[in-house]
Subunit: 283 residues, 2 copies
């Protein structure tokens, strides 16, 4: 791997560039982004040079698509003609079925590997990029075919990702999308629904005067910008709906067991999962 | 205020004792708790001496009830005969109607003021107590009568609470209970329901391998111990049910607008409330 094209030099793309450098990558990093972003990325030393998509793709053996999902889908449609034969194209979108299917139809000259670095933070843009963003975080790969994981370009790319400190996981694209519907998209919907429920209360009552740290935890995701979620919902609507249905059923069970001993079991079961997510045994 | 009895020297009671000292209180602090707890509290210098409830109450001009809610209710029933005439009795329970009504019936010799310091942390017990626990946190008072706030003992107590750094708020007990049902108990139920929903997934799928910081935020409350919530649910079931019903309706609205532009409005409304809770303008 000698030249890497980062398409979309924002928080994720910029962090991947910085993480590659930190991991020892000595090749060239070419950025593809808006004029303002590439100027900032060059000034911050995140990329070595900036070029239009076609030029960047033509000289890279890794093309890293870190745009919003809807832009990744567009880029995949017009990317193939510019690729070096045998190069690896990967992406960092948070849903995988739509992207993987688009790539299956449109990427011929290169090899495509779906990817999802499960990292992020409240700030966005290349100025927020950091080499440590992926460390100790999951990085999911969703290959078109399971065998793709054994090809030389994918093996090399996976090694670099692991050198950034990320914990790599290989999943089928549909399996990935179902799983993130539960562990990521459902929490987002709950937080948004909670804050939106409180909006009616907030008009009449001084809720901010009595809010504690628990409420701040539970409404942090509600700060997420709509632009990101628009694409996620559009490409994972079915599994999000399934997760919401399962959750509403659970809430109704809790609602109806407020005066029964059964609610204690819900607390015990929730306690065990919350502890497991933190790598602890049930307390 | 010369002598204070802390009944229940755990995280809250112990922190109140330490906060009083830090605020300049030079009187005596008498602890009432189990033998093991008072031994630890004495060793840590949180209390000056330990006595049984009746003896502690008989020599105090402030009796601070910081036990679990169900224990506070029991203590109120047997406390009156031991009180000095005109002393102030207050509590730190997280629901207020049941406690205030119990006090209205049983506290005759002293003046009762409901209280709720909206502070806490994951660790419990006197070893976790800290003088800064109440700083910048809401501390709600729910007087039996609004006029009680103007009495000398209540004014003095309120001054001490404000010296701990807490932001005091006066509310009717029912108004308090309705408000905390939305800003505190509803978030707890959502977090428990989320973790419990994930329990079924966790049996079949490696959810901990793909969980990010958002899920950790959303499942932190699910770690809360059942013992605390048993009492809260028992004394605030009606308002918790009301808040859950409002929330389930909101979730259904979001569920049915996953493919409509209306969901954008939910995100905008949620975003504004989440920003307001953080003292920011909508971003």
């Amino acid at each position: 791997m000698k030249t890497v094209a980062i398409v979309g030099v924002g928080l994720i793309g910029g962090s991947f560039a910085l993480a590659l450098r930190r991991a020892g990558f000595t090749g060239r990093i070419v950025g593809v982004s808006s004029p303002r972003t590439v100027e900032e990325a060059l000034r911050l030393g995140v990329i070595d040079e900036a070029r239009p998509l076609e030029e960047a793709a033509a000289r890279s053996d890794l093309v890293y698509l870190s745009q919003p999902i809807s832009r990744i889908l567009e880029t995949i449609e017009r990317l193939d003609a510019s690729l070096q034969p045998g190069c690896l194209v990967t992406d960092a979108g948070s849903t995988k079925r739509a992207i993987v299917e688009r790539a299956r139809r449109h990427i011929r000259r290169g090899l495509f590997l779906g990817g999802h670095p499960m990292a992020g933070k409240e700030s966005r843009g290349v100025a927020a990029a950091e080499a440590e963003l992926f460390a100790r975080r999951p990085y999911v790969f969703t290959p078109l075919e399971a065998d793709d994981m054994e090809t030389a370009p994918v093996r090399e790319f996976r090694e670099w990702v692991e050198k950034t400190g990320a914990r790599t996981v290989v999943l089928d694209a549909a399996e990935h999308d179902r799983l993130v519907a539960y562990v990521s998209h459902l929490p987002q919907m709950l937080s948004t629904a909670l804050a939106s429920t409180l909006a009616a209360e907030a008009e009449r009552r001084p809720i901010e005067k009595v809010s504690g740290p628990g409420l701040l935890d539970m409404t942090r995701l509600a700060l997420s910008p709509w632009e990101i979620w628009e694409d996620i919902i559009a490409t994972n609507r079915d599994y999000i709906a399934e997760a919401l249905d399962a959750y509403v059923e659970k809430l109704k069970t809790i609602r109806s067991s407020l005066d029964s001993p059964a609610i204690r079991d819900e607390f015990a079961s929730a306690n065990a999962v919350a502890a497991k997510l933190r790598g602890r045994r049930c307390g």
